[in-house]
Symmetry: D2
Subunit: 137 residues, 4 copies
């Protein structure tokens, strides 16, 4: 149904908070990088190129749903497994499972859109580009 | 049912990405600050004090569900309205609405626990402390 | 010689690392916000406006020299005192003193330029705009 | 004189600002990770282990001096070359050169200390541990 691409992250000291565990916004930082990495690995050009050709500037989030199952700390190596859970007309579900070895640390489903800049500022949703969908399936 | 506390954020240049809008992990950064600020404003001592008295080191996330309704950019001032949506035995729902003036930018429901350090590393959930619940209602 | 503008920061839990003190890159995050805030308070338009009028997109760093004098932790309120230490032809020195009450936490001197986008990507330095210099003095 | 260890970083979309270049505090984030990585690669145990044995909790910054020579953007791969420039009694100079291929992007010299927690909060400097110095030379 969808390719699965793995993005690997080393947890650093500065990613952790005074409770000595990963400060959770950092998970979303890594997930955003894993999202972009997924498209690059599938052969989609970087957004600064697509901006010039089709106006596509990125894939901003619409909705996110995440579960934090285990804590992680610095020294850990995390594998973020990324796939597309569902294609819709003007959005798609990008799915993440973050593993440390066999332990599942976090699970996340995101609804994202393909966005173009809007006249006068802000962004607007583009229809899912067929060529990108084909590359990622 | 619950107090509502407002935490105000100025969006900075560095909070925005090449699409010129807030890079979404920053919303979670602010939400985490707003979460802690809520407890402080309700009269709960900071976690480095509760750690010494009751072992409570913070309120890590279990689940989060967020919707991104409008974009924001630098120069914007955002008001994060924080309340407790529900108290459970060993967790609670903390609710956020981020507004720019009357415009709703983001909405988020989090399930969090009250955590103590566990022997040998990691964390464990404490029952919801009655005094904290009273202070926040 | 130069105006001094104060930018105030609340230190948050997530700004601190497992040593329970502010993780130092966060000081630079705040300093960058204080830098931009200085210009706004002096009456300089935001960069997304100057980009359209004069091409000026921001004030990227060329050099920085910082001393960390005391640690800070969450709950602290920090006042960042910002001024221009020196105007040069194509750059300027922006000066920061971070105080917690009377205690000096950090001191920083930055060399920054006024930058425009360069054809084909990257940035180039503009001469120091006379009107901006006048507004900040 | 000193080992040189390379820490490699992929620049991500979210590391860049509306000027489409790396937002500079992120360089310090990577440098801090590269600093810790240097000690790990040299065979020094992680700080959460040394905290239990010798009280050493990390190597906080005292001074930093950085020059930004070229911009970087997302898609770039950066190699951070780390070495010890000088050992002093209670501090050391850690040296960084960030390269993209042959292009030098940033150069940084830091003065850091080996720190232990101080009674009642805060940190204090330890003499440079002889075994760590030997491992890194």
């Amino acid at each position: 149904m969808s390719k699965t691409i793995i993005y690997t992250v080393r947890v650093e000291f500065g990613d952790c908070d005074p409770a000595r565990i990963v400060w959770f916004p950092n998970f979303f930082r890594w997930i955003d990088a894993a999202s972009r990495h997924f498209f690059i690995e599938c052969g989609v050009p970087p957004w600064h190129e697509t901006e010039k050709t089709t106006g596509l500037i990125g894939t901003p989030l619409v909705d996110t749903q995440a579960s934090f199952l285990r804590t992680a700390s610095y020294g850990d190596v995390l594998d973020i497994h990324v796939s597309i859970g569902e294609w819709r007309n003007k959005s798609f579900v990008q799915r993440y499972r973050i593993l440390r070895g066999d332990d599942e640390i976090m699970r996340c489903d995101e609804v994202r859109i393909f966005a173009a800049a809007k006249e006068g500022g802000g962004i607007r949703a583009l229809p899912v580009p067929g060529d990108i969908r084909a590359l990622c399936s």
